[in-house]
Symmetry: D4
């Protein structure tokens, strides 16, 4: 148990990297401000490097300067880290998204991969209502080792990519939409029901999880 430490009432598991190849992350949404500030201060040295997710810009702006100083915060993805993991050159990941509104989720995936030291490329605006948007990029997408597909509304992009790309595909539904697609349930069900074989899904808006799933693949190579 020597790899575990209790910090601000939160028990950290620094052995996790060795065990499952994925270091600890802090999910900030809903955490009390004082806990958040203590955690940021504690890991400001970047040793070990810790990823903070769901750390919204308005919360970030309100934190004291010294807690924020050493961190790189990204507003679009609501993520922050003081240091990255060592470069992981085993493979690279493509992130394909349907529209501009999915950017917070696709960028959460990208930033998590950045933090994990894994090369990644985002291909935005590939929604299926205009298939040539995807077709332009297909060869380049297939040149990656794993593919994350991010889409809201009806989530049909996952089925189309699944029929054109041989790589492991991790589909992330987003909560983008209104009426029946409000909250992401229609996209999730569409992705789970996909007629293309071997597509697997993450929870709604879970860009972090998709990056971890892709990292599990890259770590195999």
């Amino acid at each position: 148990m020597e790899n575990m430490q209790e910090i601000t009432g939160v028990l950290f598991d620094f052995a996790r990297t060795g065990r499952i190849g994925l270091p600890e992350a802090v999910f900030c949404q809903g955490k009390p401000l004082n806990v958040l500030i203590d955690l940021l201060r504690r890991f400001s040295s970047g040793k070990p490097p810790i990823l903070f997710t769901r750390l919204a810009s308005d919360v970030w702006q309100g934190l004291p300067q010294d807690a924020r100083a050493s961190y790189d915060h990204d507003a679009l993805s609501s993520t922050a880290f003081a240091a990255r993991m060592p470069k992981n050159d085993k493979g690279k990941v493509a992130i394909v998204s349907a529209g501009a509104a999915d950017a917070p989720v696709s960028h959460e995936a990208a930033r998590t991969l950045d933090y994990l030291g894994i090369t990644n490329t985002i291909f935005e605006d590939c929604g299926v209502a205009g298939l040539w948007r995807l077709a332009r990029h297909l060869e380049q997408i297939n040149d990656h080792d794993a593919v994350i597909v991010v889409a809201g509304m009806e989530g049909a992009l996952a089925s189309v990519v699944g029929g054109l790309c041989p790589r492991p595909i991790f589909a992330v539904p987003t909560s983008i939409g209104y009426g029946v697609s409000s909250g992401g349930k229609a996209a999730l069900d569409g992705m789970l029901a996909s007629c293309a074989p071997g597509i697997s899904c993450l929870n709604i808006d879970n860009g972090y999880g998709a990056a971890c799933a892709a990292a599990r693949v890259v770590n195999l190579l």
Copy 2:
């Protein structure tokens, strides 16, 4: 009220054709056998022509010979009629379906159009996991005046057709599928949430309704 008649306890509205352009149909599922037999006998002359829907083969086989004699029953679509409406040459309808399992619904639409005297063509096996299947037929599909899209699972076919075809598009989700797509809810929500503009939807498995919607368009021309 001279166009209405009460037959076997069911009140028929023979004026409907004049009012909304669509004649009366009999939804057979759940109707008691004796009511069904009386209705079939009553309209066996084909004057006026009446469409019977959801008349399953096993029910049909069990009916007395004289009730069935003058009817053309189609097992795949579970429909029957003794006579068709006069030929309607104003336009024609394309029916695009995702897979063989959607055939009962796509054929219910086709048979309803047959009965309404409207020319129609079925394009089967156009599921989006293999886009070239649809691409082969696209020019021919666009040569019709209205398009019915029939798909189960995640229903992504409607979005893809919607981005490639300028005609009025009526999407019919089917109850094909298991797990989250069991019963057709995932396909329905996917079609309602479609990112392609101007696609409208029917209830799950409602091939008859889609044909009526397309007929409303053809009757305008």
Copy 3:
């Protein structure tokens, strides 16, 4: 691909008008302010004409004057455009709504048709609890080429119009209501389950989609 341009990270598809007869629109809800401002500035010349939907008054009021200058913004429907498409005289569309609370949706449909150059008329306050309200207008409604029905609560208006009007009917449920009808699900299910034949449905509050569906009909004539 010469008809596509990448603007502010959003890829525009100017060839869509030719392909499906419906030009590109910008769904503003959830878009970051800076993206919105860039897009408004870029299309302020009205060439090509672009429709902005779900652009709420309070967002609009906060935008810089130069971004707003050349646009016609409508508060009730939350839409804006700098120029309209050329007049489309092929047909005209009736919009029938149940109550005053449905106005944002019925006016989104009307404004989209305005932008598409298609003549349209709104018939408000036709809820079925007072059938004479609809009866007054029926002859005039049937004089249009397509009918959009907008209703919340239980959505029964679609069934009643469907039994009295022969035109293509596009039903739009609204999120008006509380308890079981909160969010529009009761109206949507009621419209999908309608006992009147050939009514097709759009997603909840999707006035824009209904206008596009009606435009697909008008473009056929």
Copy 4:
């Protein structure tokens, strides 16, 4: 407690008539055959009169002759009783139904009223897709003291009746339908969300409950 008796392991509450004006009934669905047979034999004298509901024809046919001898069983409504309550002349009840498929529920209501000694009339096939069907009967319906509306699909009939009739209205959704209306949920939500004021609802297919609700009104007069 002298009005209570334990019969076949089921505790009967013969004082209920005095307390709430509605005598005990036996819901047969799911009851083991031997319990059912014991109960039928026990009350075969018709003293006190007991109503058996959800007693399907195929179950009934399989019961021993002596258990069935003194009962009047109705196949359509799946009800049976050996004797009725004394004639209740205080008022009368109208039962308005949308279509022939709703007959098992509307007749369960009618038979329950028969058993309670209350005069009732069924008005069938009044679905809103053909409003003149209802209009023909309106004056006669309004001549009753309470109105039960029975409808499946989207349940719009309740809203229309609610806008035209001043009596207490009890709406019963039926499980008739497929897709979104399968099981009766769309009709139930439509009736609860009705835009007509003062309509109250029963559980899906609960014709017995609607009759009891109407009886509570009649007992007041």
Copy 5:
């Protein structure tokens, strides 16, 4: 049609009182402020008397003085009227509620009855976790002609009252609660599924509807 007037774009149906015995009401929630102000000014004379529901205190406080002057606004029930209907002495209504948190709904029912000129009494804090609370009032409750039961959480109060009271009972679930009872769905389903015979239900939080349902009963007497 001489009894209808179009005011501020809202079509009023002043004949409704004659037709169904219930005058027109204005559901204020979601209505634009300018429409609301016009309507209040128009009916400030109290001729005809109009009921405004869901007119929350914070909205009311922000309205101009002259629009509010002649009205009696009640903060707890969010209702207002300038005049009441003539005294209706035919019957009286009991309103039984489970807890203090249900007061906005039980008082909406009470104020609607006040406006309709019908005598009513509220019995609060009768929740079933303490049955003696209800038992104290039972005799007095049964002395009324109709009973409205208002309850959130699991809604069990309706079943208990239903077994003890012979009057017409209108159950109103409230959106009080958290977890599974959040939004009122558990209370609604509990009331619809009630094992006590002849209880009918209104939509969640619909105190106005319950008062109208009770008024339909009182108008019969």
Copy 6:
């Protein structure tokens, strides 16, 4: 791991009794016949005693005589065992049920307790529509150490017992009912939302689980 054995491909955990005080049980529903027969034969000596649950009568009747010989099978509860656990005199359990239709679940609880050697009493037909039914037994119920409440429909019995009894109360919703209560969801939500403090719930129809929960209490004494 010496307490574990692999039998017919199912790994048994005979150490469980020591660890959590509850021996292993076999959930038979859905198990292939040959696996079931092997297991019955293997444990026919009653050493160790094993409980078989959801072993329906029709399945049981079809098993070979030698597999059934040493077992006591109970048709109502669908349970079987060849031997019981040693008598557990630490406490006793009351099982209160709403109606005769809940008997399969209340008896599954009773038989599980029998098998565990724990004294138990069933109090049937205590539904809240007739409160005196419960009142008769209250003193006797409170004389037990734990109380299991079994009810379908709206599940209100749990709230009422919860307000009158100080013991640990385990509520089991049953799938008895139709419409909104079909499948037991209304009863489950009603029990979870109960306004009586400290009632905890089991899954729908889980009489076995409730008995185990009560046994955990008895084992403490």
Copy 7:
């Protein structure tokens, strides 16, 4: 009825302690401020001791000083009381929680037990993604008389504890999570469906209820 008093329109039941061993509590969420202030003032003497739950910090801060003076308010659990019940030495309760985000619920349980005079210990951060976290504490947890398990997300902690601990286990799902676990439904269903025998569940976020359930067990000892 001498143990009941009506205070500020809320009827208190001071006999409850005698009847079910659990004194009255005030659920503050949604109560009007003036009612809350009156109640706090009335019970400021701590005789009888009353527990206030769901009394959020921002509401508490806004209350007048004299209403708050004699109370101990805890921000994390949103609870307050002026005095505790007499020390209850019969048993002690363990509270095991999955993560820091569950603290408001686990502390509501702890504070309720504090108020009831029952000794309790919180074991935080025992989520199943790191099983050694739980393993460290297992022996100590099993040394308590009842165990409350608090977890959001997928709620798997309850199953794991259920397989390792023989005590009565009360599982409380929390509304922590996003996507499918938003609102706590996934955790609730996971806990109800748990494969470990004899775990019973409370409503989502109901720490108060779990403490009452555990107190029912302790009161038995």
Copy 8:
């Protein structure tokens, strides 16, 4: 298009193997018998090798001998093939299942991998209520390149494996269970909401899809 052939009205895509590395499969459930027989006969040579899934034993038994002759049918997994794909030695897959009832799904995954020529091992009966069952196999599981986790009920096994194993993990919920877990929704939501990072999910009961997802990983190596 030379790699496509139309057989029995079903269009086969023999180029798929080249494009996404996964050959075509036939989902048999719901296909008409005559279509099934034609397909079996057509591919009886095993060139190309085709996998038939959801081909239940009772359907299989009823097929003509010549259609079945060259096939290897497995009753537990409901799969059949006449020939396998060439041996794929790039990697191997572990299949971890919770209980014996999940065998049809875990074996569908295993058989699909067999057909794809990929080595695989099933680890059964690893449910989390007995953690040592999993612990025994952990080292061996981690020696595989991808892990498929199959579980019903609450699906907690996926979270536990996710915290102990660094490989790509594909979670398959099964429809095993009753009450809230009936149909597999609780397991699916639990797996999607898992607190262990980087677990991705398939549709309920989709063992075939999980095998394809794992094959996408193996094909990368």
